[in-house]
Subunit: 153 residues, 2 copies
Amino acid sequence: MQPEKDFRLTRQRQIILEEMRRMRPHPNACELYDAVKSRLPHISLATVYRNLEILSEKGFVRKIITSGRQKRFDINAGAHYHAHCILCGTIVDIPVATEVMRVLPEKPDGLENFRVMETRVEFFGHCGACRSIGTTAEDEDSRRGPVRCSPAE
Amino acid sequence: MQPEKDFRLTRQRQIILEEMRRMRPHPNACELYDAVKSRLPHISLATVYRNLEILSEKGFVRKIITSGRQKRFDINAGAHYHAHCILCGTIVDIPVATEVMRVLPEKPDGLENFRVMETRVEFFGHCGACRSIGTTAEDEDSRRGPVRCSPAE
DNA sequence: CAAACTTTTGGTAATAGTTATCAATACCAA
DNA sequence: TTGGTATTGATAACTATTACCAAAAGTTTG
């Protein structure tokens, strides 16, 4: 147990949090980097990664679990679940006040010896937009495949 | 829509599936590679990766969603959930016949336009072993940090 | 204020898990 | 057999993330 070192809410961290609130939800590090760069042109990608990690330890943001290879982050502090569209990759927030939440027991069978500290429910399926289009999602704007950082100038 | 190409259950694929049943659950590609290599010494790591992907498309195995950077795979075809120990990294299966499953509505509030095809529940907390030890997990055998492939010979 | 110390940053190299490529091989159907 | 398709093994390439480190920023102490 190392002595906790003090945390400074630097300008970079403030702007990371501000941009996360402003932009569309669940960005990955590169999307966020691009957004932050418009206000802090000299920020480093490493700073964004580093701070996402630290901010999630501190509870300002949380990491989303995904099966993809990029990490995504979430500014919404309140408890909620996610619905992942397996066609276009969109992630939709499901608010906490749902049947699911009311109904999920705090400690289900099989977890007798386990101290449950967090429960996450993830839904996978087809989002409304994709259903109305068919099997191929054409709405580029809602796609969420891997996103690369803008090339350096 | 490409014409589905035919799937051959090759010796490599058979043994991958057999080893997945035999070994401890939720291996990553490298652990599995090591296990399979004891029976097929010339198998390539690429074959393991490739087939895990294909076998999961075909429904023989499923990918586990994690926040880490390695993928893990699961041979247990039936529906079940996972409990992740945040101290030692162990993943425990929670059988399907629990309150959770019985009680989880097929389509909760907030998902009216979403066609739910799969629901996963992930629990995070401290497993029994870690609780009895304290805050640091000493049981090397149950740790599940990143696992590297055995070095080439 | 200055000195000493801690934390953070930007730039970049390194890491590591995963994918892509491709010639060679195995398998299958005619 | 022959021709076609699927798969494999070997290895190179890719890429998201992390590590490193000197410089800068911020904090505390004298």
